[in-house]
């Protein structure tokens, strides 16, 4: 029953809107692209990345909602897609928890390595031969 109503919804609704909304979304996406390039050239210090990510998220939301018709999608499909983003955030922030709380010595550039172009190992970073 639930399936029947959902598909009926997604079949009946979209017929009445034309292509106008696609052009509006496209114009906003292009404007956002220009904005993100312009702000990318500016030096905003630590605000550059959060700003770029906010603009990208806004653009992605518009694409998902209107180009991908998430507004008309069945509830199950919305849950499925949004859940993947939730788990992506869990993964990224889980790893961030590790990165933020690491001690200096466990950072990769404190370990001498043979691969890659010269990695400077600070003088004081070599572990002591013995400890009291």
């Amino acid at each position: 029953m639930a399936e029947a109503t959902n598909t009926a919804h997604s079949k009946d609704k979209p017929h009445d809107h034309g292509t106008k909304r696609y052009f509006i979304v496209w114009a906003i996406l292009i404007a956002c692209t220009i904005l993100t390039v312009k702000t990318g050239y500016m030096d905003l210090g630590s605000y550059n990345l959060p700003l770029a990510l906010c603009i990208a998220t806004l653009k992605a939301t518009l694409v998902v909602l209107f180009f991908m018709h998430m507004t008309e999608a069945a509830g199950t499909n919305r849950i499925v897609f949004v859940t993947s983003f939730v788990f992506m955030l869990v993964m990224i922030f889980g790893v961030f928890g590790d990165l933020w709380t690491r001690s200096e010595m466990s950072l990769p550039y404190h370990t001498p390595t043979t691969e890659g172009p010269e990695i400077a190992v600070p003088e004081g970073a070599t572990p002591p031969a013995h400890h009291e």
Binding site: F23, T36, A52, M68, H69, S84
Partner: protein
């Protein structure tokens, strides 16, 4: 309402597979399958974005200087090309639904042209990187960037993410070409357009990934 009664007298939809009762049920299953697949695609790229996050955290300065080696002009052009191609696909999907067959074909042809333009610009970018040696791992030989630690990691991530994305562009192009074939043969019509919808969804995902790749790689 039980599933098997009441369908005997109505003729079966020509595209209805034997294991479905109604075309609505088949559409529902196809859409759910596609969204599930798109979810796994998001998670696939999420792994690469995570790698990016970790290395950028450790080598913040390196990533900033290496991103200057990319051409923002090429990146911006490609962003605009992909967004516009997404518009074309969205119009094509609408055109199939309302029965405007020539318009749908024209829009899909434009989309494939956009995809080719995107890949051509990608080729220009890659060939320049090969020339100056801004390459992953042991192939890295760009002297002016050697002074930054782990500069090759930036290019490993650059080639992995944009390469996988370019592969998705090629797959998306192929899918849309098959969709065009189906429209020409009259298989996809206003009463059966779900395959067009799913092909369009895939193409929008390609756009979606690029929306995040572009600022993270080019504008940092």
């Amino acid at each position: 309402m039980s599933s098997s009664d009441g369908h005997a007298q109505t003729p079966r939809h020509p595209q209805l597979a034997g294991h479905f009762d109604t075309i609505g049920q088949q559409d529902y299953a196809a859409r759910l399958g596609m969204w599930l697949f798109l979810g796994t695609e998001v998670l696939l790229f999420a792994g690469l974005f995570l790698g990016y996050t970790v290395y950028r955290h450790f080598y913040h300065e390196t990533f900033h200087h290496c991103s200057r080696a990319l051409s923002i002009e090429y990146g911006t052009t490609n962003t605009i090309i992909l967004i516009t191609s997404s518009l074309f696909v969205a119009i094509a999907y609408w055109a199939v639904k309302v029965g405007k067959k020539p318009m749908a074909l024209f829009m899909l042809a434009l989309t494939i042209l956009c995809a080719l333009a995107f890949l051509f610009i990608k080729y220009l970018e890659y060939s320049h990187k090969f020339e100056v040696g801004e390459l992953p791992g042991k192939w890295f030989r760009a002297e002016e960037l050697m002074k930054y630690p782990a500069a090759n990691m930036y290019f490993t991530i650059y080639f992995l993410t944009t390469g996988l994305h370019a592969f998705h562009v090629i797959v998306g192009m192929t899918v849309l070409a098959f969709v065009m074939k189906g429209i020409i043969s009259g298989r996809y019509r206003p009463d059966y357009y779900v395959p067009v919808e799913l092909g369009a969804l895939y193409w929008h995902l390609v756009d979606l990934v690029w929306i995040f790749l572009f600022p993270l790689l080019y504008l940092i």
